[in-house]
Amino acid sequence: MNPYNRKNRFWKKLCQLFICFSVIFLFSSCGDSSDTRPGQAGPGKKAREITIAYGLDTDAQSIRNSGDMLLKIFATQRLVELEGTRVVPGLAESWDIIHNGETLIFHLRKGIYFSDGTPFNAEAVRFTFERLMAFNSSAWTETDRIRQIDVMDPYTLAFHYKDGMAGYIALTAFAEYGCGILSPHSVTPPGDPRAAIARFSGTGPWMVEAYQENQHTVFVPNLHYQGVRPILEKIIVKTIPKAEARVLAIQSGGVDVVIDYYHGGSAYTPRNMLKPLKDQGFQILKKQMPMTTYLVFNYKKAPWNRIKVRRAFNHAINKDDIAALFDGWINTARTSLFADSAPYIKDAGAAVIPFDRQRAVQLLQEANFPLKRPMELIAMGQNPDEVKLCEIIKAQLIKVGVDVQLDVLEPGGYLERTTKGTFDLRIYYVGGPERRKFTRMDGRFNPEASEFGDYGFFSDPAITPVLKKAVNSFDEQERKTNFHQFYKLVNDLAAGVPLYFNSVFVVCRPEIKGIHFISSEPRFDTAHWENLKNAE
């Protein structure tokens, strides 16, 4: 045989074999999805630790801030906490409001220590809040309202307000995430509110053992914590910004838990990935928040300044389609403006405007709605769920004759458009996690609140005084009455279209037990591996 032909045949056979193996390999990879079920903990993984995938950096060595929400929940405690609608003692055992709200005095608990061994006292509290004020932090709504903070004795300090406390809302603000008390020795030089954090130290159940910016934070139990010591010996929080990458990480066994951002508004697991994860055997833990995602109008310009138009859009949106979009993982706002955990919503009787397409068309005609001009709906590209939601809304509005132009924007562009008011519709959330249930309501509807900015969510002369009474009154019954009135006004004025109630989700391996929620915050102090616990 010709040597050239022999060689040619050899290469042909080699190619054929290569193609065969490639096809076999490809098909073997497309096997039963049950093969991606979580297996045992990987080799070398210690059974007394878990690894969490989180979308943000914990900022444990911050130059200008005081750390991320997760860090604050894990490693710090606050002067007060919010249980339902009541402010309850935290690190402060009691408080007094004197001089008609000009001064708020806190009496602190004794015998508490930070994770670095230094004592918790009034100086530490003053340092924490002076740091927030020095950097004008958004973590505390009272930042620009405080004139001075005085230490009266080692366990008593006074906050002096410039124009007096706004009211009850000012007290609830001390339960905010950012008000977690920090040890003055966290910074170098110690006690300097403007210094960078070198070694984060709080009084919470966990302490920071190691931190690498934008990569990981390692938590170990705080030996000085006064409460029950955590079961686990270590929690490693890995920063994985991309949601899909977090899902791949848990599927590959690289992490044991995936959690949403604590305030529920961003850095969350896209809801349409939850069902596949559940099918693969992962646990999906869910806790609803007092936060509702709304379709918001640019109410300052026509035609959105007319109630008839806003009511028409309320009638035009079918929330069942939205539930289907998220595979039923979220609860739609079909019967109520807010979830049950919103302040005083349960017996408020604030019925939601029902879906009725014909009525929507009728109202739009009566209002002479400009159907020829496309309405600009803006969405933040960073939130994949928000983009999908906007596409659903667009499809529904087309059915009532409204043409919608959807602009998916990067964060800078989105902020630019909302600040300048160059939009017709957008998605926005009202309310917040439990710590913010009062401050967020105020920030969305009260133009005098710093959080409101140029647009807020909605503003009306009828709503503002009612809301102010609702959030500022120290009398519970008065708060309840005014909140009921507030909800009724929001509904009657068709301030926005309530779409669904936000929830915080935790995805974890089936062997992990004991992750619990306090309000809508996942906590890991009782988390443990089931097989280990059983063995003990």
Partner: protein, 314 residues
């Protein structure tokens, strides 16, 4: 050659000034006030006028555009690229660190691309129009057509999720480097292979190769001693262009593998309008590109002495 090096280094200055001025101008003209955007993201609420004024004064954003640029350029030429508006950290050390992280996967990825592309490209050229050649060209078409992030996801699915051989993300451990490097290697190999094939094929048609063959030299000797050196010139150009993607070019891979590199840092800075960081990256990119071009030109003169003589005559 010394003259060439000196000429190129001197040209570095106007190039850097032009590139940095252009990017500074574009950032200035872009919609969105950087101070407002950064404060709003930090505060999670629109900033008050007082906060805006204070922030701008702190970071020199209230000065005229030309003064801002002049101040920045003066500091940059001394190695100080400013302070991040978002984090408050110095830009230079952070960029150097992130550049190191990116280089740690980028250059091995490039070497892998070359290791895959060069032998296959040469084989395809030598066996032109054979089954092997067709098979390789079909494969490279797949490599070029399929985007890098898809290769990354596929590799994660196969090796991390199904087989549990490698981690899906992370930084630090040796095994964490493998998937990003392989992804970059596969993504870059397709184009290089086709270029190698075309270049080698072209040289193989030339008369001096026929002469060498007729002299009785073996195929391997002809390839190594005569063909490759001539064929490498366009390949070196392509490698140079590939290297220019180092800064900011691997953002998708870095995002997929949670790799703390400069591409991801640039994307975050661009979304936040963190002007000092963006300017710093542009500055470093310009510097890198000019030095890279110089290295490529020097490589040409090494590969092909005719280029050196032409330069001397010029």
């Amino acid at each position: 050659m010394i003259e060439l090096i000196v000429r190129r280094l001197v040209s570095l200055v106007p190039v850097l000034i032009a590139a940095s001025f252009l990017s500074f101008s574009i950032m200035y003209l872009c919609p969105g006030d950087p101070a407002r955007i950064i404060l709003e993201m930090e505060l999670q609420a629109p900033p008050t006028q007082r906060q805006l004024v204070k922030f701008k004064a702190q970071h020199g954003l209230d000065q005229p555009f030309v003064l801002q640029y002049a101040n920045w350029l003066g500091r940059a030429l001394h190695g100080d690229l400013g302070t991040s508006l978002k984090t408050g950290k110095k830009v230079t050390p952070v960029l150097i660190e992130k550049l190191g992280h990116t280089a740690a996967v980028f250059f091995p990825g490039m070497i892998l691309s070359l290791a895959i592309a060069l032998p296959l490209g040469i084989m395809a050229a030598v066996k032109a129009d054979s089954v092997l050649d067709h098979g390789l060209r079909f494969t490279t078409l797949g490599c070029i057509s399929i985007p890098g992030f898809w290769w990354g996801i596929l590799l994660i699915y196969c090796t991390a999720i199904r087989l549990r051989w490698l981690p899906a993300f992370g930084y630090g451990r040796p095994e964490c480097y493998i998937l990003p490097i392989v992804t970059l290697g596969i993504t870059g190999s397709g184009e290089l292979m086709r270029l190698t094939r075309a270049s080698v094929l072209e040289v193989l048609q030339l008369n001096f190769v026929r002469t060498a063959r007729s002299k009785g030299l073996g195929q391997t000797t002809i390839l190594i001693r005569h063909v490759l050196r001539n064929a490498f010139v366009p390949i070196v150009t392509s490698i140079g262009l590939y290297c220019s993607h180092l800064v900011g070019g691997s953002i998708i891979i870095e995002t997929l593998f949670a790799w703390p590199g400069i591409g991801r840092h640039l994307a975050t800075a661009a979304a936040m309008r963190d002007v000092p960081v963006i300017q710093g990256i542009v500055f470093i990119s310009g510097l890198f590109f000019v030095l890279l071009n110089l290295a490529i030109d020097l490589a040409y003169t090494f590969l092909d002495p005719r280029i050196k003589m032409a330069e001397n005559k010029g």
